[in-house]
Amino acid sequence: MEHTVSDIRQTISPETLLARIAKAERAALAALFESEAGRLLAIARRIVRRNDLAEEVVQETFVAVWQRAGQFDPARGSARGWLTTMVRNRALNLLRDGGRLEFHDATTLEALSGREQDAVSAFQTLSDSEGLKQCLGQLDEPKRRAVLLTYVVGMSNGEVAERLAVPLGTAKSWIRRGIAALQECLR
């Protein structure tokens, strides 16, 4: 059985796997899990900051993929992108719902500084040939940080304001102008 899963993974695109999952092929879901779970766990972890919660997000996502693979629309982006969106939405909902994410004091500082590092390193790790890197690079430093903290690690507007030591209105306006400028540049 393991053999089958590996074979599927090596030869079949995530798009095709989703089509097979929509026909209730468990081996296809297993193959998708094998190739994507590590990436998705790491994306969720950047947002929820805890391994157990990141696993919960990925678990929910794959159960949802099993139920909803038929709703994937290739005209709306790639299969990997669809998975990324599902994981991000669940992780961000968990973060926004709040209650379960209280950190003990001892871990707070480390967890929070980790968020900022993660946001910056995502930008630095982008390939230079990636248009997004060039466009982010054209933003003023505070706007770039505001957008990265919001997108990469899911900071709220209030957290961004605190981190950048500016009033909430200023942080919101940086984020809004930052993403608008990015979108214009990417066009």
């Binding site: 929509a22 026909k23 209730a24 468990r26 879901l29 297993a30 899990f33 779970a37 590590g38 990436r39 766990l41 790491a42 994306i43 972890r45 950047r46 391994n51 990141a54 696993e55 990925v58 678990q59 794959f62 159960v63 099993w66 139920q67 909803r68 693979a69 038929g70 709703q71 005209a75 709306r76 982006g77 790639s78 992108g81 990324t84 969106t85 991000r88 961000l92 390193s121 995502a122 930008f123 790790t125 982008l126 990636e130 248009g131 997004l132 890197k133 957008v147 990265l148 919001t150 997108y151 990469v152 507007n157 919101k172 984020i175 809004r176 993403i179 608008a180 990015l182 979108q183 990417l186």
Partner: protein, 225 residues
């Protein structure tokens, strides 16, 4: 048509819209494929940032936990369902109605997950107007059987009343009468006998959080056998 909404694409992708603004934007995305395409494009570009992660080690128990949650006979009707959206309205309605009856009667039809309850909503003149399946994860699958007329500036809003104390709770809105899955609201597990209804509300949705517009169809839920 979507000029004002175009300015909100970035805010939407960064999840900075909420309340009425968010509902209006999502209704427009559902209505305007070009806007939906531009959202997908920006989202796709931003995901280059997500893809900078170093994949994490996958704990050995994770797949087993997922597998334990998969319904064994899932999806038998998935193949039927996808093309429905492309077929003519009446045909779609009759096929789904047949599928629903087959399911309730315990035939080999099965849904992607077993709904906890199913409600057939009927209009004032007792015509079936929509089928609602409510799932344990709070999502609801809605199959309209009637092409409800939705005037400009109005939306269809789906409600349920889990109990008298809680009163009516919105499960979501949709702009056109088409088969749709809504995320629903975090509520107690739906029960047989629970009321479901669809009302016509001003876009982006009821201003009071309770039904204010005319009731188009309503019905009581039953549990599949």
């Amino acid at each position: 048509m979507s000029a004002g909404f175009d300015d909100q694409i970035g805010d939407y992708v960064l999840r900075m819209l909420d309340g009425a603004e968010l509902a209006a934007f999502e209704a427009e995305v559902a209505r305007d494929p070009a806007l939906a395409g531009r959202v997908a494009t920006l989202r796709g570009r931003m995901q280059a940032l997500d893809d900078t992660v170093v994949p994490a080690p996958v704990p050995s128990g994770l797949w087993r936990r997922i597998e334990a949650q998969l319904t064994p006979t899932a999806h038998a009707s998935a193949a039927n369902r996808t093309p429905l959206r492309q077929q003519s309205w009446l045909l779609a309605a009759s096929v789904v109605l047949a599928a629903g009856i087959g399911f309730v009667a315990g035939q080999q039809f099965s849904k992607p997950a077993q709904p906890v309850v199913i409600a057939v909503l009927v209009s004032e003149n007792a015509m079936p107007g929509a089928i609602i399946e409510a799932f344990a994860n709070n999502s609801v699958h809605i199959v309209p059987l009637e092409a409800f007329e939705v005037p400009a500036g109005k939306v269809l809003e789906v409600w349920t009343k889990p109990s008298e104390e809680i009163g009516p709770v919105s499960l979501g809105r949709f702009a056109r009468p088409a088969e749709i899955v809504l995320d629903g609201a975090t509520l107690p597990l739906p029960r047989a006998g629970q009321l479901y209804e669809i009302t016509l509300e001003d876009a982006p949705g009821s201003p009071t959080g309770k039904p204010t517009g005319p009731i188009l169809v309503k019905g009581l839920a039953r549990s599949p056998i």
